[in-house]
C-alpha cells in the first residue's frame, strides 16, 4: 500500500478523513441531497429485485441475499476507486456509497427474515441464511477490494 492513501474504515462517513470531517460545512445541503437521492435509487433497485424474486413464506430469501452480496462486492470496488482514482470528487462517495449502495443493501430485512424463518420453525433455513449471507457478503467485499486494487496496480505501476 506504499504511496496509496489509506482506505477509511467506514464507507458512509469516516471522520478520520479530513475532507469528510468538513464535508458538511462545505455544503450540508448538497451532501444530504445526494445521499437522499442515491438512497432512493438504491431502495428502488432493491424493490425491483424483490418483484423479480418474490420471497417465499418459508423459503430462503434469495432476493435480499443477492442484493446484500452484490452491494458488498460493489462497495469494495467503489471505496478503492473513491480513494485512489477520484479523491477530489467530494460527492461520489456520499452518492454511490452512502446513498445508492447503503439504500440498496439492508440489514433490517435480513434480520426480520431470519426472525420470520425462526418463528415459522424453519430453523435450518434461518441459520443457513444467517451464516450464508455473512460469509458471502464478507468474501464479496474482499473480492471487490482485491480485484480493484489489482487492476489499478496494473494500470498505474507506482
Amino acid at each position: 500500500m506504499d504511496g496509496v492513501p489509506p482506505l477509511p474504515t467506514d464507507p458512509d462517513v469516516d471522520l478520520h478523513v479530513p475532507a469528510q470531517r468538513t464535508e458538511l460545512r462545505r455544503g450540508l445541503a448538497s451532501v444530504l441531497a445526494v445521499v437522499a437521492l442515491g438512497g432512493a435509487l438504491g431502495a428502488l433497485a432493491r424493490y425491483g429485485v424483490g418483484l423479480l424474486l418474490p420471497p417465499a413464506p418459508a423459503g430462503f430469501p434469495w432476493g435480499i441475499f443477492l442484493v446484500n452480496v452484490t452491494g458488498c462486492l460493489l462497495i469494495g470496488v467503489l471505496m478503492v476507486l473513491v480513494t485512489q482514482v477520484w479523491p477530489a470528487q467530494r460527492l461520489v462517495r456520499p452518492f454511490l456509497g452512502t446513498g445508492v449502495l447503503g439504500g440498496f443493501t439492508t440489514f433490517s430485512a435480513y434480520v426480520v427474515d431470519i426472525q420470520r424463518l425462526l418463528v415459522a420453525g424453519e430453523v435450518v433455513v434461518a441459520f443457513a441464511y444467517l451464516a450464508g449471507t455473512l460469509v458471502a457478503a464478507l468474501l464479496a467485499v474482499q473480492a471487490g477490494l482485491s480485484a480493484t486494487r489489482a487492476v489499478l496496480r496494473r494500470r498505474v505501476p507506482s
Binding site: D10, D12, V13, C72, I75, T98, Y110, Q115, L138
Partner: protein, 123 residues
C-alpha cells in the same frame, strides 16, 4: 404509487443513517463502528414492529412500502456493515471485527423480536 413511497421512505432513511453515523463517530470515536450498529439495530426494531402489526392485523401495502422497504431498508445497510468488518480484519483488529458481526446479528435479532413484542402489546 408504491414506487414513490419506497423512494420517499429511503430519502429520509439514508440521510438519517449518514447523520447518526457522523454524530456517533464525533461522540464515541472511530475505534468501533457504533454508528452503523445503532442504525442497523434501530431499523431492525422498527421493521420487526411493522412486520408484527402486519402479521396480526394486516398492514396496508403503502405503509409497508414507505416504512419497511423505504425507510428501514435505507436506514439500515449491509454494505457498510460488511465493509467495516473487512477493514477491521485487514487492519489487524480481528476481535473488533468478530464483536461487530456477533453484536450486530444478536442485537439486530433481539431488536426485531422486541419490536414484534411491543407491537403485540400495543395492538
Amino acid at each position: 404509487m408504491t414506487v414513490v413511497l419506497v423512494a420517499l421512505g429511503a430519502m429520509v432513511g439514508a440521510p438519517v443513517r449518514y447523520l447518526v453515523d457522523r454524530a456517533m463517530q464525533a461522540r464515541y470515536g472511530t475505534d468501533f463502528p457504533w454508528g452503523t450498529l445503532v442504525v442497523n439495530v434501530a431499523g431492525s426494531f422498527v421493521l420487526g414492529l411493522v412486520w408484527q402489526v402486519g402479521a396480526r392485523h394486516g398492514v396496508s401495502p403503502a405503509l409497508l412500502a414507505l416504512l419497511g422497504t423505504g425507510f428501514c431498508g435505507a436506514l439500515t445497510t449491509y454494505s457498510t456493515f460488511g465493509f467495516e468488518t473487512v477493514r477491521l480484519i485487514e487492519t489487524g483488529r480481528r476481535r473488533r471485527a468478530a464483536a461487530n458481526v456477533a453484536g450486530s446479528v444478536v442485537a439486530g435479532l433481539a431488536a426485531a423480536f422486541a419490536g414484534g413484542a411491543l407491537a403485540t402489546l400495543l395492538w
